[in-house]
C-alpha cells in the first residue's frame, strides 16, 4: 500500500454564505497524478488552495506526510505551486525566478547554480536563463513556472489549470511533456482542470467534483466506463440517458414497443424505474432491424471530420446520441429512418 | 503590527484636525488643554467678520467661475486625448498637466506681472483665469481616467442602433463619464476654494479669497477665530469627500481594481 502524502479529513470551506468545499475526505498517495475535475464553481481550486495553505478550512484538518498542517501558513508547507497565470516575477530573470525557492532555503550559491541548471534543462529552457518572463512565449513561461516549482524538490506539486491559457495544439504538447516530467521525477501531483480530456489523459486517478463534493474518485477508465451518477456521466464524455422500467432482471422496457436487453453488474428489480446511460461511440448504425436494435429518426447531424454526431429520436420520443465514424455505412440526412444497435453490455445503470 | 503602525500614522494625520476642532470651542482667547469650557463666540466672530464675509463671496464667485469654465474645457481635452488619435498623446498630456509642476510662487508672481502689464491689477478676471489654469490638470486627469475605462464599443453599438454622434455623446458617453466628471467637479471645486499661494500674489484686500483672508488674520491675530473658520472648512470638506466616496466610490478613481 502506497503511503498517503496528502490527506483531507472532513474539510469544509465557507465563503460568506457559500459553501465552496463540503466535508471533503480525500487521500492522495505517493507518486500519483491526481486530477480534481469539475465545472467552474465546483470547489476544485478552493481545494487546491486549502492544500497549499492559501486559505484555511472552516472545519476539518489537512495532513501532509502524516503531519497536521491545518493553520500552518503557505510558506512553511514546502509545496510547489504552478499558477494559472504562471505568476512569474516580472522584475526577475528566468534564472532568478527559478532560483527563488532555493534562495529562500539559503542554499549555497554553487548548489543553486547546479540545481537551477538542471531544472531549466529538464524543461528545455537552459538557454533562456537571462531573459525576462515578458520576453518568453506562453508555453515557455509555463515551463519556467514548472521548473520554479520543482527545483527545490517539494513533497507535492500543485497545478491550478496550468494549460488553460494555451492554445489547443500547445496545450496537447505541454500535456504530454508535463506527464513525462512528472513520471521521470516521480513527484506526487495534484492537477486542477475543467477539461475532462486532459484529466483522462494525464491522471492515475480522477476526483470528479461538483458543488464542493467529490462525486466519484477512481481511475480514468473506471470513471469513464462506470460513472457513478448522472452528473459524472454527463460531465465526462457525452452520453445518452434513457428512462424505462425493468420488466426482467436483465430487460428494460423503454416504451410499450421497445424493450432492450442489458448486461449489468447488479440484477434489476422487476417493476423498478431505471435510468440507463450509453456512450455515443458504442451506438452503431446498422442497415436493417436486428436483434438488439431500435428504430430512430435522424434529427440533427454535426460533421466533425473523423466522425459525425448523429442525434436521433426513438419511437417513444427519447433522444439518442451516436458517433458514426466517417465514412458512414449508410447515407445520413435529417428525417431519415435508421436502425441503432444498442449493445447490451454498453449500458451503465445510473444511481 | 502593520495595523498598529497604520493606526498610529492615521492618527498623526488627523491629530491637527482634531486639535483645531477642539480649540474652536475654547471660551477664551488664551488656549489651554484640556479646554476650560465650551463657547461658540469664535464662530460668531468668524461669521460676522466683514473681511471674511467679503472674502467668502469672492471665493464663491471665483470658484464657480473657474469650475464652470474648467469642466467643459477639461472634458473636451480629455476626450481629445483619449479618442482624438493624436500623434504624441503623452506630450499633449504632459503639457495639459504642466501647471501642477510649476511652483505656486512662480505662477503667482508671473500672473501678477502679467496683470500689471495689462493694467488689470484689481480685476477678478485674472484671478478666475489663474484658477482655471490651476484647476484644469485635475479636471483633465479625472475625466481622462474615466474616458480610458470607457469601452468604445459601447459607443459603436449606440451608433449601429441609429444614434447620431451628439446623441451618442449625450446618452452613452456622458452618463458613463459620470464618475470622472463628479471627481473632476469635486477636485476642481476644492482645489480652487483652498488655493492660496497664487491667489496671495494676485489679489488685494478687495478681491482676496477666503484662504488669503485667513492668512492675513493668522499673521496678525492669535485668537481661535481661525480655528472656528477652519472647523467650518473641515466639516464641509469631510462631508463632500464622504459623499463623493458614497456615491462614486473614490477607490475607483484612485486605485486599480481587479
Amino acid at each position: 500500500m502506497d503511503n498517503a502524502v496528502v490527506e483531507l479529513r472532513g474539510c469544509t470551506r465557507d465563503y460568506g454564505g457559500v459553501r465552496a468545499v463540503d466535508a471533503m475526505d480525500l487521500v492522495i498517495f505517493e507518486g500519483e497524478f491526481l486530477s480534481l475535475l469539475g465545472p467552474s464553481g465546483c470547489g476544485k481550486t478552493t481545494t487546491l488552495n486549502l492544500v497549499a495553505g492559501f486559505v484555511e478550512p472552516t472545519a476539518g484538518r489537512i495532513l501532509i506526510d502524516g503531519e497536521d498542517v491545518t493553520g500552518v501558513p503557505a510558506h512553511l508547507r514546502g509545496l510547489g505551486v504552478v499558477f494559472q497565470s504562471y505568476a512569474l516575477f516580472p522584475h526577475l530573470s528566468v534564472y532568478e525566478n527559478v532560483a527563488f525557492g532555493l534562495r529562500e532555503r539559503r542554499a549555497p550559491a554553487a548548489e543553486i547554480a547546479r540545481r537551477v541548471g538542471e531544472a531549466l534543462e529538464l524543461v528545455r529552457l537552459d538557454r533562456q536563463g537571462r531573459q525576462r518572463p515578458a520576453e518568453l512565449s506562453g508555453g515557455m513561461q509555463q515551463r519556467v513556472a514548472l521548473a520554479r516549482a520543482l527545483v527545490y524538490r517539494p513533497r507535492v506539486l500543485l497545478l491550478d489549470e496550468p494549460l488553460a491559457a494555451l492554445d489547443k495544439k500547445l496545450r496537447e504538447e505541454m500535456r504530454d511533456e508535463l506527464r513525462a516530467i512528472q513520471r521521470s521525477v516521480g513527484i506526487t501531483t495534484v492537477f486542477v482542470t475543467h477539461d475532462q480530456a486532459e484529466a483522462l489523459g494525464l491522471s492515475d486517478r480522477i476526483a470528479v467534483m461538483s458543488r464542493g463534493r467529490i462525486e466519484q474518485l477512481g481511475a480514468p477508465r473506471e470513471i469513464y466506463e462506470r460513472p457513478a451518477s448522472r452528473f459524472v456521466a454527463d460531465f465526462i464524455g457525452a452520453s445518452t440517458v434513457l428512462r424505462g422500467r425493468a420488466v426482467a432482471p436483465d430487460m428494460v422496457a423503454l416504451s410499450r414497443d421497445l424493450t432492450i436487453r442489458v448486461i449489468v453488474a447488479e440484477a434489476l428489480r422487476v417493476g423498478e424505474e431505471v435510468e440507463l446511460a450509453i456512450r455515443p461511440e458504442r451506438v452503431r448504425l446498422v442497415a436493417g432491424p436486428a436483434d438488439g436494435t431500435a428504430e430512430a429518426r435522424i434529427e440533427g447531424l454535426v460533421y466533425q471530420g473523423s466522425m459525425t454526431e448523429v442525434s436521433a429520436r426513438l419511437g417513444d420520443g427519447q433522444r439518442v446520441l451516436a458517433f458514426v465514424t466517417e465514412p458512414a455505412p449508410i447515407p445520413l440526412a435529417p428525417g431519415h429512418l435508421v436502425h441503432l444497435k444498442l449493445p447490451a453490455d454498453a449500458f451503465m445503470v445510473l444511481a | 503590527m502593520l495595523n498598529a503602525a497604520v493606526i498610529a500614522l492615521v492618527a498623526f494625520m488627523t491629530l491637527p484636525t482634531v486639535v483645531v476642532i477642539v480649540v474652536s470651542f475654547n471660551p477664551t482667547a488664551i488656549l489651554s488643554f484640556p479646554p476650560s469650557g465650551f463657547s461658540l463666540r469664535w464662530y460668531v466672530n468668524a461669521l460676522t467678520y466683514p473681511q471674511f464675509q467679503r472674502a467668502a463671496v469672492n471665493s464663491l464667485w471665483v470658484t464657480l467661475g473657474a469650475v464652470a469654465l474648467a469642466l467643459p474645457i477639461g472634458t473636451a481635452a480629455a476626450l481629445a486625448l483619449e479618442r482624438g488619435r493624436l500623434r504624441m498623446p503623452t506630450l499633449w498630456a504632459t503639457l495639459l498637466l504642466s501647471p501642477l509642476v510649476v511652483p505656486g510662487v512662480a505662477a503667482g508672481l508671473g500672473f501678477l506681472i502679467l496683470a500689471a502689464s495689462l493694467g488689470l491689477l484689481r480685476s477678478r478676471a485674472v484671478l478666475i483665469a489663474a484658477h482655471v489654469a490651476l484647476v484644469l490638470p485635475f479636471v483633465v486627469r479625472s475625466v481622462w481616467v474615466s474616458a480610458r475605462n470607457l469601452d468604445a464599443t459601447l459607443e459603436r453599438a449606440a451608433a449601429s442602433l441609429g444614434a447620431t454622434p451628439w446623441r451618442v455623446f449625450r446618452r452613452v458617453t456622458l452618463p458613463l463619464l459620470r464618475p470622472g466628471l463628479f471627481a473632476a467637479l469635486l477636485f476642481a471645486g476644492v482645489v480652487s476654494v483652498n488655493e492660496f499661494v497664487v491667489s496671495l500674489f494676485i489679489s488685494n484686500r478687495v478681491t482676496e479669497i477666503l484662504p488669503v483672508a485667513m492668512y492675513s488674520y493668522v499673521v496678525n491675530y492669535t485668537d481661535p477665530t481661525i480655528a472656528a473658520m477652519s472647523t467650518l472648512f473641515i466639516t464641509a470638506t469631510f462631508a463632500l469627500v464622504w459623499l463623493a466616496d458614497r456615491f462614486v466610490g473614490l477607490g475607483r478613481v484612485f486605485l486599480h481594481h481587479r
Binding site: V81, P90, G101 | V105, L109
Partner: protein, 261 residues
C-alpha cells in the same frame, strides 16, 4: 475631435505667457521704491548666488530631501493597507481620512500645526514652533496624502498572485515584501518621491507660518522680495530658479525611469 484640445491649450498658453512675464522681468533692472524697471541686466541672477541666498537654497534642498524620506517611510504602510485591504469599509475610511486633509487647504492645516506645535495644546520638551523641526513636521504632514495616494495606486497594480507565488516558494511575509512587493512598487515610490520633493522645494505656507520668519525657503524669499519689497525682478529670478530646479528634477528622473524600463 482633435480640435477639442484647443480651449485647454489656450488656457495653458495663458499660463505660459504668465511664466514668460516672469522670465522677462528676471532680466530687467530693479529700481528700488517703484515698480518700474530699468534695462537688461543679469544682476538678479547674480544676487541669487550671494552667500545668504545660497544658504537658503541649500536649506531648502536639504529640507525637501528630509521631508521626502520621512514622508515615504510614513506613507508606505498606510498605502499598503489601503491598496491591499479586502474590506471596503477600511478602504473607504482610509481614503476619506487621507483625502480630507488634502482638501482642507494649506492655511487650515498649517494653522492646526501652529496650535499643536506652539505648546498651546501639547507641551513639547524642545521648542518646535518657528524652528526647522516644526516646519519639517508640517511639510511631512502636508505631503503624506499625496504620497499615500501615489503609492497606493502603484501597489494596487501589483497582482496579488505574485505574493502568493512567493509564499508558496517558501518566503515568509517579510521576505515577500522585500523581494517582491517593494521592487514591484518602485515606480510608485519614484513618482511619489519626485512629486513630494519637487513640491516641497517650492512650498510656501508651511515654512512661512510654521517658520515664523526664522526658517527661510526659496518660496518665502520670492514672496518677501516680490510682495513685500516690490522687487519683482529679484523675486522673478528666484522664482525661475525654483521652476528650473523642479523641471530638471522631473526631467532627470523621467529619463532614468525610461532607461530602467
Amino acid at each position: 475631435m482633435k480640435l477639442l484640445l484647443l480651449p485647454a491649450l489656450a488656457v495653458i498658453a495663458l499660463f505660459a505667457v504668465a511664466l514668460g512675464c516672469l522670465l522677462r522681468y528676471s532680466v530687467l533692472e530693479f529700481i528700488p521704491g517703484s515698480l518700474k524697471t530699468g534695462g537688461f541686466t543679469l544682476d538678479n541672477f547674480r544676487s541669487v548666488t550671494a552667500p545668504q541666498y545660497l544658504g537658503v537654497i541649500w536649506d531648502t534642498v536639504w529640507l525637501a530631501a528630509a521631508t521626502t524620506a520621512l514622508t515615504l517611510a510614513a506613507s508606505y504602510p498606510v498605502a499598503y493597507v489601503l491598496a491591499r485591504t479586502a474590506s471596503s469599509r477600511v478602504r473607504s475610511a482610509l481614503l476619506v481620512l487621507t483625502l480630507a486633509p488634502f482638501f482642507t487647504g494649506a492655511i487650515v492645516r498649517t494653522y492646526a500645526w501652529i496650535l499643536v506645535l506652539g505648546n498651546a495644546v501639547i507641551s513639547w520638551p524642545i521648542p518646535m514652533l518657528f524652528t526647522e523641526r516644526g516646519v519639517l513636521v508640517g511639510l511631512v504632514h502636508f505631503s503624506m496624502p499625496t504620497m499615500i495616494l501615489l503609492l497606493a495606486a502603484g501597489i494596487s497594480h501589483i497582482d496579488p498572485v505574485y505574493e502568493r507565488a512567493a509564499a508558496s516558494l517558501g518566503a515568509k511575509p517579510a521576505r515577500v515584501f522585500w523581494r517582491v512587493t517593494l521592487p514591484l512598487s518602485l515606480p510608485g515610490i519614484v513618482s511619489g518621491s519626485l512629486i513630494v520633493f519637487a513640491w516641497t522645494l517650492s512650498a510656501y505656507p508651511t515654512p512661512a507660518l510654521l517658520g515664523g520668519g526664522k526658517v527661510q525657503m526659496i518660496a518665502t524669499v520670492v514672496k518677501d522680495r516680490g510682495l513685500d519689497s516690490f522687487n519683482w525682478p529679484g523675486a522673478a529670478a528666484f522664482a525661475l530658479l525654483a521652476l528650473a530646479m523642479t523641471i530638471a528634477l522631473l526631467a532627470g528622473v523621467g529619463r532614468a525611469g525610461a532607461r530602467a524600463a
